[in-house]
């Protein structure tokens, strides 16, 4: 029997040759700082040091480490933080934190070797990028990682000082932060889901008894819809709970299910072909691909639509476009744009751990919405809401896919009930990349018509979204809220087919809309022989973007002309984005003095965006304290009801009530404790320390009216449908649309290798107007990460499907290609902090608006570089070479 030294302790290795090191370290030793994310050696989250060298423990057989020495993330910080850990903390080189332990382990090995060999000369970005190439970060913290590793190597963090703008950073860089996948109760079972292997079929029979007969299997439950129909590969059929994952998989294999195949329609082309099979007979059960309410809309076969309520003088718009086409109007811009399906693929998968104590349920779940999940469980399972507690202390990324009550949670609860034991359900990467939601791909047909006087006359956008087993994609409709025209026809169609359902993804509908519309604006500028920024200044009156256009026009690169030099062509492009300012009516924050400390509580969650730090920073500012002196309690539905972390609503929902509560708490403290002697430089610290326990709370109420009529909701400019939509959002989604438009303008510089069909993004200048920043460093991190995700959307990411079976082929992180650290451009983030003075705190959320224009700006830059417009993303080698073939080669 082999042994291994783990963080200096001798441990006995398992005999079983199948056990992988990651499972031994996490499962047997309970060292959960090492994370399992991709399971195929691509993402590096499971990296640990084996005899000093970084290895991916998800591919390493446990028995192979016999006689060796392992250091995990827990061992690295054990005797005082390593300079790399301090650097990550100080430089905010992390967001959700799930990939962080792996990055730290690798960066520590790199740092130590570098210092031995090179002293304190700072390594180059390329050297660090090559060394850390085996790690992926979905939040896109790369720019800060590259900078902080260089600074650590240069010796800037050799001292003892540890500070971080992110409240929980220390837990994340030491592996102490517990995520849902790390929760382990006594007697906890592992739940796994049996999934369909056919795209469309009737389930004739399902026999769970063979599974239940296997030793170690505690429960098996059916998960079939009322109509006993499978509608996509991967649809859940049954689930089992067993002592471990391998037993659970054996049990799934033992389940006997028989199917009668039905004709399937796989993907939008097949679904719209004449005589296509009807993917969904009963349409009521379709999932919602967006966050808006589902309205009744016409169906024709698999096509749902048009949803065209945001149109404005629709017939006139179409008539003008037809007339311009007939007249061969040289200024009429027409085109068809294609965007790929983008997967969220947060590194922490969808996961839930359910545990019953009597009739009380505790659910740990990787969610963006603890309060919402609590109430949904009560509704769906007819449980008493007061007996449900939903917990999410740390969430390893969400991006919209974890905004609703998901099957992982429901299955864990049902299995826990059936097995009478705690059950964990954690998706593997294949499930995560196939059935856990995605941003629908789309074909967008566009026509944009300038008038003779140079104004914008008409816009026509028709979007066909590849929504699989879901509906309600809104892409074209978003074209109403920017670039006013005399008439607009905006039609959204869902093309339903036998593929998994979509889910809201960071600015749902925004990036594809911008990809089409912002390229059309760019093309119009070329035709009109006007600078693209000047044309936007003319056509887009929004005050927030007007300030950003002026900033963008002042970037030095904007004054350069495209340089085409043989094989390598450089180009620059611009694009604008916007999002709605949303906030949650009734979001509640409680503030208390407890044992002489300030405690803030609200059932919000931190998915890496920094809501903990926003709360702590606001209170630190109000009371003249250090953020670390504030106890922040979040991620627990037992706390006062907080907002979901979706729709960029978090900051604007929790900050105003926090500030109101702070004032009330101050008054309460003043009543209870006398003002200290004049001259104290921390008067509130002393008074809080001396104050008896008490608490106050405040809820989010409507904003004061803005000072200027120019500051209004974009829906206010959208006619009656805008008002109806805003009312419905508030009535049915408990979401208020505030005044003012969160805006972004990005300028992107690219270099195109025309020989090998490769686009490299060199620099991104991202200008963002979301008002005052509650946590400036974290907002900066989020904005930079949004650029990274936008680069992935523009250049690398695309789901691929087998056209005959409906299997998702890009179901691993090797084939589904998210940006790596070496793809990071230089990123300049500019925040314009005006425009939201009517919001208490002065600012709103940044998450979505920051990613919307990136792919469009990259496409415009590529057009500028090579003279041909890329109308399809991702701009892969095959597509770029095809574009170039028509021109130079």
């Amino acid at each position: 029997m082999g042994t291994v030294a783990v963080n200096g302790r001798l441990e006995t290795l398992p005999e079983d040759a199948e056990v992988l090191l990651v499972d031994f370290v996490r499962g047997r030793l309970g060292l959960t700082g090492t994370k399992l994310a991709c399971g195929s050696g691509v993402c590096g989250a499971c990296t640990l040091l084996l005899d000093g060298a970084p290895v991916v423990s998800c591919l390493m057989p446990a028995k192979a480490v016999a006689g060796k020495s392992i250091i995990t993330i827990e061992g690295i910080g054990a005797s005082g933080l390593h300079p790399v850990q301090r650097a990550f903390m100080a430089g905010d080189a992390l967001q959700c934190g799930f990939c962080t332990p792996g990055f730290i382990v690798e960066a520590v090995a790199f740092h130590d070797r570098w210092r031995r060999e090179k002293g304190t000369r700072a390594p180059s970005t390329a050297e660090i990028g090559a060394a850390l190439a085996g790690h992926l970060c979905r939040c896109g913290a790369y720019a800060n990682i590259l900078r902080t590793v260089a600074e650590a190597c240069a010796g800037r963090f050799d001292g003892e000082a540890t500070t971080s703008p992110r409240l929980e950073a220390r837990d994340k860089v030491t592996g102490a932060a517990h995520y849902t996948v790390d929760v382990r109760h006594d007697g906890q079972l592992e739940g796994c889901i049996l999934r369909a292997r056919v795209a469309h079929a009737r389930i004739d029979a399902l026999d769970l008894r063979p599974a239940l007969r296997l030793p170690g299997v505690a429960a098996a439950i059916p998960l079939i819809d009322k109509d006993c129909t499978v509608r996509y590969v991967g649809q859940q059929i049954a689930a089992v709970a067993a002592a471990d994952r391998r037993t659970a998989h054996a049990a799934l294999a033992a389940i006997a299910a028989t199917f009668s195949p039905l004709p399937a329609a796989i993907g939008p082309d097949a679904a719209r072909a004449p005589g296509a099979a009807i993917a969904f007979g009963s349409r009521g059960a379709l999932a919602n691909a967006s966050e808006g309410p589902i309205l009744p809309v016409r169906w024709r076969g698999n096509l749902r639509g048009p949803s065209a309520a945001f149109s404005f003088r629709a017939r006139r718009a179409r008539r003008w476009v037809r007339a311009a086409r007939r007249a061969a109007d040289p200024y009429l811009v027409e085109g068809s744009f294609h965007t790929a399906v983008q997967q969220h693929t947060a590194l922490e998968p969808h996961a839930a751990v359910a545990r019953f104590d009597g009739d009380r349920l505790t659910l740990h779940v990787s969610t963006q919405a603890v309060s919402h999940v609590q109430s949904e469980i009560a509704k769906r399972l007819a449980l008493d809401q007061s007996k449900i507690r939903v917990v999410a202390q740390h969430v390893g990324g969400g991006f919209g896919a974890k905004g609703a009550l998901g099957s992982e949670a429901l299955v864990a609860i049902k299995l826990a009930r059936a097995a009478r034991a705690p059950v964990r359900v954690a998706f593997d990467r294949h499930e995560e990349l196939s059935v856990a939601g995605y941003r629908p791909g789309a074909r967008i047909d566009l026509a944009l018509l300038p008038a003779r006087d140079g104004s914008l006359k008409a816009l026509s956008l028709t979007a066909y979204a590849d929504t699989g087993a879901s509906v309600n994609s809104t892409i074209a409709g978003l074209g109403r809220l920017i670039y006013p025209a005399k008439a607009k026809y905006l039609a959204d169609f869902d093309v339903v087919s036998n593929l998994p359902p979509a889910a809201p993804f960071r600015g749902p509908g925004g990036p594809p809309m911008a990809f089409a519309l912002e390229q059309a604006i760019d093309e119009a500028a070329l035709r009109l022989k006007i600078d693209p920024i000047v044309l936007r200044q003319r056509w887009d009156p929004n005050p927030n973007r007007q300030r950003l256009y002026a900033w963008a026009a002042g970037r030095e690169v904007w004054r350069k002309t495209a340089a085409r030099n043989g094989r390598f062509c450089k180009g620059v492009g611009v694009a604008a984005g916007y999002w709605l300012y949303l906030w949650q009516p009734g979001a509640k924050v409680e503030l208390a003095v407890r044992n002489g400390r300030l405690v803030v509580s609200t059932a919000v969650q931190d998915i890496g965006t920094g809501s903990r730090s926003v709360l702590a920073q606001a209170l630190a500012d109000a009371f003249g304290l250090d953020p670390q002196e504030i106890d922040v309690r979040i991620g627990d539905s037992a706390l006062p009801q907080g907002p979901p972390s979706t729709g960029s609503r978090t900051t604007a929902s929790i900050l105003p009530p926090t500030l109101i509560a702070a004032e009330e708490l101050k008054r309460g403290i003043a009543r209870r404790v006398k003002r200290p002697a004049i001259g104290s430089n921390a008067p509130w610290r002393e008074r809080i320390a001396a104050c008896p326990d008490f608490s106050v709370s405040a809820v989010r109420r409507d904003d004061a009216p803005p000072a200027s009529r120019d500051i209004r909701s974009p829906l206010a400019d959208a006619g009656p449908i805008g008002r109806v939509f805003a009312w419905m959002m508030r009535r049915f989604a408990h979401l208020a649309v505030g005044a003012g438009v969160p805006s972004s303008v990005q300028v992107v510089e690219v270099e195109v290798d025309t020989l090998l069909g490769h686009v490299r993004v060199d620099k991104v200048h991202t200008g963002i107007a979301v008002g005052r920043l509650a946590a400036p460093v974290l907002a900066h991190s989020q904005a930079a990460g949004a650029v990274i995700q936008g680069i992935g959307y523009a250049l690398y990411e695309g789901r691929e499907v087998d056209p005959s079976t409906g299997d998702i082929l890009t179901a691993g992180l090797e084939d589904y290609r998210i940006p790596g650290i070496a793809d990071t451009p230089s990123i300049e983030v500019h925040f314009d902090e005006a425009g939201f003075d009517h919001v208490l705190g002065g600012g709103v959320g940044v998450g979505e608006v920051a990613t919307i224009p990136t792919a469009a700006a990259i496409a415009n830059a590529v057009r500028n570089a090579i003279g041909v417009r890329p109308t399809e993303i991702p701009i892969r080698a095959d597509r770029l070479l095809a574009l170039l073939q028509g021109t130079t080669q």
Binding site: E18, L20, G39, S40, G41, V42, G44, T47, L50, A53, P54, V55, V56, C58, L59, M60, P61, K63, A64, E106, G129, A130, A131, A133, G134, R197, H249, H430, L755, L756, G757, H758, R760, L795, Y796, E800, V801, D802, P803, S804, T805, D807, L809, T810, A811, G812, E814, D815, R817, P819, G820, A822, D823, P874, A877, D878, L881, A882, Q885, Q889
Partner: protein, 302 residues
């Protein structure tokens, strides 16, 4: 027998572990035990080298004498996979690894390599497939080191056979079922490289989407000897384009004796793809292959 139930050897497990986890490989696993011989790099008096099959990819990449004598191999070893994988993955394992095809790697899809009678990628989605369609399976060979070793005319020793050509080990691509022509239960023990040519220059280039850590779309190893302004010898091999790493014989012939000129480079690039027969989705790889040949020769002639 189900092909997945076949017995397999495990070196570092960087390929096998993922197939075990997914259930693509279900047979018995036998761990290889590295010996001093399989871990060694032995230099011969003639300048050639024998590399033990258990040497890691990183060790090959880090060896200065390899970079000097076999620059194409050294750069290939330094460019593949990720630092963590290179740190443990072995030469033998790299040569014997299985296809990265997304159909093959999906446990629920039957395919030629898993004992079925057809290749689902051929009629399905073969975006990353071959452009030299040599056999029933359309997945390109996964081994970057194999492409490099083919360029160096390496010889392979196994526990049963001595001194077989690397091209024999790799097969001609017509088989489709396996990714190599190893016998059942045969183990690679070492790889022998003949001495480099006098005055040769060599390099490794790859075309990828992202900058790092990605399986190449197309990769190429080029060795070149020039004398008095003419190309004396060109050796070109490519990966990512065929079920086996491929020698680009037509491109080599186009260079033979030709002046070291832009014209020759263009001729070689054009010749590289004359025998190609791409699939509906892989035509772009022709441009990439020609582009890499041009890129490699321009660099070698610079």
């Amino acid at each position: 027998m189900n092909a997945g139930a076949r017995r397999e050897f495990r070196a570092a497990g960087t390929d096998l572990s993922e197939r075990r986890r997914s259930g693509v490989s279900t047979g018995e696993v036998i761990d290889l035990v590295a010996t001093p011989e399989t871990r060694a790099m032995l230099w011969a008096a003639d300048g050639g080298v024998t590399i033990g099959a258990a040497m890691t990819v990183a060790a090959i990449a880090a060896e200065p004498r390899i970079s000097l004598a076999y620059a194409g191999l050294g750069a290939a070893a330094a460019g593949l996979a990720t630092p963590q994988i290179r740190g443990v993955a072995t030469l033998g394992g790299n040569l014997a690894q299985r296809s990265r095809c997304w159909y093959y790697r999906n446990p629920s899809i039957p395919c030629f390599k898993k004992g079925a009678s057809r290749c689902p990628a051929r009629a399905g989605n073969h975006l990353y497939g071959v452009v030299f369609d040599l056999g029933p399976c359309v997945a390109p060979h996964p081994s970057t080191l194999a492409a490099a070793l083919l360029a160096y005319e390496a010889r392979v020793n196994t526990d049963r056979r001595a001194d077989i050509g690397i091209e024999t080990l790799l097969g001609d691509g017509r088989d489709g079922k396996a990714d190599h022509a190893l016998l059942n239960d045969e183990i690679i023990t070492s790889v022998k490289l003949p001495p480099p040519l006098d005055g040769e220059r060599a390099l490794y280039r790859r075309a990828t989407g992202r900058a790092q850590a990605e399986w190449p779309l197309v990769e190429i190893v080029a060795r070149l000897v020039i004398a008095a302004g003419s190309i004396v010898q060109l050796r070109l091999t490519a990966g990512g384009v065929a079920p086996v790493p491929l020698r680009l014989l037509d491109a080599e012939a186009a260079a033979q004796g030709a002046p070291a000129s832009a014209r020759t480079i263009a001729d070689c690039a054009a010749a590289a793809t004359v025998k190609a027969n791409p699939l509906p989705m892989t035509g772009y790889k022709l441009a990439l292959l020609r582009g890499l040949v041009r890129d490699a020769l321009e660099r070698l002639l610079a």
